[in-house]
Symmetry: C2
Subunit: 154 residues, 2 copies
DNA sequence: ATTGAAATTCTTTGGAT
DNA sequence: ATCCAAAGAATTTCAAT
C-alpha cells in the first residue's frame, strides 16, 4: 500500500488535482515525459489508491444549495459499535457531505448542505434527531465559503 | 447566472459528480441523449459556472497527510476589512483546504491537512499565530474521516 | 434543441532502446 | 523505465431537421 512518490509523480498529482481532465499529452508535456510513461505512472497511482477518483465539482450556489451547516454531535456512548452504527447512518444521507469522528468533547462533526433554513430544519427533524443515542447537537452556519479545495499540499 | 436545470441536466450533474471522466458516449447513453446535445448541455453548465471544475481526488492517507484538524478562530474585530484581510491570508496557505466564515461566537472555521502533530505545530507557530487580530484559536482533531464527498444532493 | 456522420484529437498498446 | 509510432477510441463540429 505504501508507494514511494518521486518528483514527477508529485507533479502529476498536483496537476491532476487542479485539472482532472487535462489531456495526457499536456500532462506528459508539463512533467517532461512522453505520453506512455506518463500514463503508466497515472495508472499505477490509480491502482494504488493514491488517486481515488475523478469528479466534477459543482457550485453550491448555482445548484441552489448555498447553505453549509456544521453540526457537532455528542453521543451518549462512545462504545465502538455505537460509533459505527451512527457513522453508517450518517453516511447514507446525501445532505451530509463530510463527517468526521473527532477528539474532544464532541464525537462527530458534520458538514451538511441544504437549500435554506427550512430544509435544514427538515433534515434535523426528519433525520438526525430520529437517531438513537444522541446526547447533544450543536449547529453553526457558514456565512461564506472563503476557501474550498481538494488540492492536498503534497 | 440563474439557470433552470431540467431532469436531464440534473442527471448529467449527478453522473459527472461521481465520475468526472465518464466518456461522453456513456454519459449521453445514460441520460438518453446522443453525444452532441449531451455535450452541448455540459458546455453550457460549465460556462454558467454550475460545473466549477474537474479534479482528481487523492487519498490523504496515501500521500502521507492523514491528519485533518478543525480550527475555530475568533478575531478581535469583525469589521469587514479585518475579515477580508484574514480570509485572504488564510486562502494562500496550502494546508488550509476549507475555510468558512461562520455565525456564532467563532468567526472562522478551517480544515487544515497535515502529516502529523509536529507539522500541525509548525503550521500554528509559523503561520497562523503570526497573523494579527486573532483573539482565540481552538483546535479539534479528526480521528477518522467517516464520509467525504463532493456529491451535492441536487 | 436534437440528430447523425465526418473530421479531428486523444488515449492506449506494443516493439525497441 | 522510457520512447516512438501505429491502432483504436473518444471528442467535437456541422449541415440538416
Amino acid at each position: 500500500m505504501q508507494h514511494r512518490l518521486d518528483d514527477i509523480d508529485r507533479k502529476i498529482l498536483a496537476l491532476l488535482q487542479q485539472d482532472g481532465r487535462m489531456s495526457l499529452a499536456d500532462l506528459a508535456d508539463k512533467v517532461g515525459l512522453s505520453p506512455s510513461p506518463c500514463l503508466r505512472r497515472v495508472r499505477i497511482m490509480e491502482k494504488a489508491g493514491i488517486i481515488s477518483r475523478y469528479v466534477a465539482v459543482l457550485s453550491q450556489q448555482s445548484v441552489g444549495l448555498p447553505v453549509s451547516v456544521f453540526i457537532s454531535i455528542k453521543l451518549e456512548s462512545q462504545r465502538e459499535d455505537a460509533l459505527n452504527k451512527f457513522g453508517k447512518a450518517i453516511a447514507r444521507w446525501p445532505e451530509v457531505l463530510e463527517c468526521y469522528l473527532m477528539t474532544g468533547p464532541r464525537d462527530y462533526l458534520l458538514r451538511v448542505v441544504v437549500a435554506d433554513l427550512a430544509a435544514y430544519e427538515q433534515f434535523l427533524k426528519q433525520k438526525l434527531t430520529r437517531l438513537d443515542g444522541i446526547a447533544s447537537i450543536e449547529s453553526s452556519f457558514a456565512l461564506e465559503q472563503v476557501k474550498y479545495t481538494n488540492v492536498l499540499p503534497i
